[in-house]
Symmetry: none
Subunit: 208 residues, 4 copies
DNA sequence: CATGAATGAGGCTTCATTCAT
DNA sequence: TATGAATGAAGCCTCATTCAT
């Protein structure tokens, strides 16, 4: 027994140190942005020895990705929401709801998302990580479209993946706009437009 | 007096030097990417004196933006194409055509566009420049939508700017995909799906 | 009392740990070379605690020398071979044989010898260790020369130590060449030439 | 005219700076040895800006090799000495003379040669450089042997390259001994023994 | 207008070693 | 004996930019 418990104590210590570094990292990233942040700053903020950071993280990217992943879990939760509409209206409503959750989360985490956006452009690793997230969303959306097609709710001559991609891209870009605080439109208006175009298109249907 | 003929010669000289630098810049950017390119490299490639580059460009961004602008003119030409459809079908066709031009240009200039993409993420100035281009496209698309609405071809309870934005964003993202060579879909298929969703939506219209 | 049986167990344990470290050391040294190998790597490979290595070895050199000594025992065995030739031809043959053993052993242990060579250049301690080995060889060869002189087989106006030195040095250098895989000559040819020059010289004797 | 001469002035300046760095380099290397010397030390000693050293040298090795090459020129001069003996005695004498020059130079440059020796063991580049020097000597000696064979002064069933190699190696090792101040023999004695063994061998010729 | 030698701030990273348990 | 988290000194190197000519 005494051979195992002491290690737990040590491990606890180690976990604390790592947490301290992550917390410091978040703080510095939020304050200085991704590019300008240096490992030194994080270390100083964390009040850790210089080498210590390198025990836990290979470099700045590595630390940031860990930080980012915490956040992305929340996005994944939204992506995985079930989607089984029974009518066209029902679908419309569910979709609007999903978009709402997605955009709201981004806005709520605005500060961190701004850093994420910067990091995507600068670091190939972070970019990769973001692509994974995109793909996860797109895949899930494609499934939903497939379901709607099988229920004869959606047009069947369209490739679910391609539609999912275009749809997600619009959402993502509006999301970045909101995160940047640069949108001149209200979130509700954005959602309304996105959803209408997506479900019903811009033009009037041909009158038979 | 002495400012007339000799200065013309000098100006000629100056223009030549600048061109030499821009050409070298393009070369190095294409080879090394945006981040890894250094002013020193460009200077060496241009076979110019170290200080000389600073006569013409404030820094790397500055030089790059000049390079980028040459390319963007071509995009503007596409954006400015007239759009005055008379029927729903006509509109559909014209839109598809526009998308085609847009994506084709990007693919044709793929190499430079890849660098542009990288630069957008890294340099705030380049990012700003790209935003200008986006806005120009969006503004023009909004005009077109407005026209379609006035012709009673398009739904009128939608804000042209907002629709234009969403529409452009989808197009842009597929464009980057194609530029990255990472799309698993043919350009024709992409265009077809984009246009259908945009004009007619994904779901069947309510019957009755 | 309690120092008897339990301590034996402990000692057993200790010996095991040390062996584990030495084995890991050999592995890492062979893979990464001397300079690039770090104590940390060895520790990780040995699956031992960080501090543990310091219980047994002062540092990298220390560990390496222990490893090296195992190998050097084999060289000593060759050096100690008896040498009591009765004729010039007999001597020639015995010498050739000795050289053969020496070079063959080095080639057989090539991988480790490469590391040894690197370590000699980098670490003063290892260098010292190698000098001991040289001296042991030279001393033994000097004895042999002395014996040959006493038997009136060898020239007597030559200092055995000096001759031994020059002789050993040639051998050693060819040995390193073979170890480096950089010799363009066969081992047999090398042995033949070494031995002939050593015993009979390069030039024809004076025809009196 | 005024377009060309100013550059000469600048170039002069640059050459001075480089010399300053080389001089500082020599100083620091002699004082601290190869491994312990850092670029920073050299820069401080040279009273130059930090980046300046990197304008002229890629790194420590690079600077050292330049320093080393100055010295090696002197060795090359010895290696290239003509060798066209007419008799066995003549050859013996010329060889002894050559050895004398070689060892004397090394002893005269003892301090620098000690650093060179250290550097050979530590830096692959320096090691390579030294190998070049060895090969140059060996090649030249092989030529000389070939000449002696053609004059029927030397045994003809021996491969000149192989003999040259063995001969040079003995010389080199004694050289390092002298440089290390670790030889217990006088240089004259060393030369005498080396030359005798090389030309006449250790053993008496067969009496027939 | 053109030059190019000189600068130095400042980031990155490694690793031997300690010491409390 | 054994452990392994924590340390921090120290070296490396790049590159934008200046300024005297």
């Amino acid at each position: 027994m005494s051979t195992k418990e002491p290690s737990t104590n040590r491990q606890q210590q180690a976990i604390q140190t790592k947490k301290k570094l992550l917390k410091a990292g978040r703080e510095v990233f939020l304050q200085s942005g991704f590019q300008k942040t240096t490992i030194s700053q994080i270390i100083k903020t964390a009040n850790t020895g210089y080498g210590t950071a390198y025990v836990y993280f290979k470099n700045k990217n590595d630390l940031f990705i860990e930080l980012m992943e915490e956040l992305m879990i929340k996005f994944y939760e939204i992506a995985e929401k079930p989607f089984e509409p029974t009518t066209r209206e029902n679908a419309h409503e569910m979709i609007a709801n999903q978009v709402n959750l997605f955009l709201s989360l981004a806005v709520k985490e605005r500060e961190m998302m701004q850093i994420v956006k910067e990091a995507i452009g600068v670091s190939e690793e972070v970019n990769q990580e973001w692509k994974n997230i995109q793909e996860r969303f797109i895949k899930r959306i494609a499934q939903d479209i497939h379901y709607a097609q099988s229920q004869n709710l959606a047009k069947q001559n369209l490739d679910p993946t391609l539609v999912a991609r275009g749809w997600f891209y619009s959402n993502e870009m509006f999301m970045w706009e909101l995160v940047d605080n640069e949108s001149h439109h209200s979130m509700d208006e954005i959602i309304r437009h996105l959803t209408i175009i997506y479900t019903s298109g811009l033009y009037f249907q041909n009158q038979f």
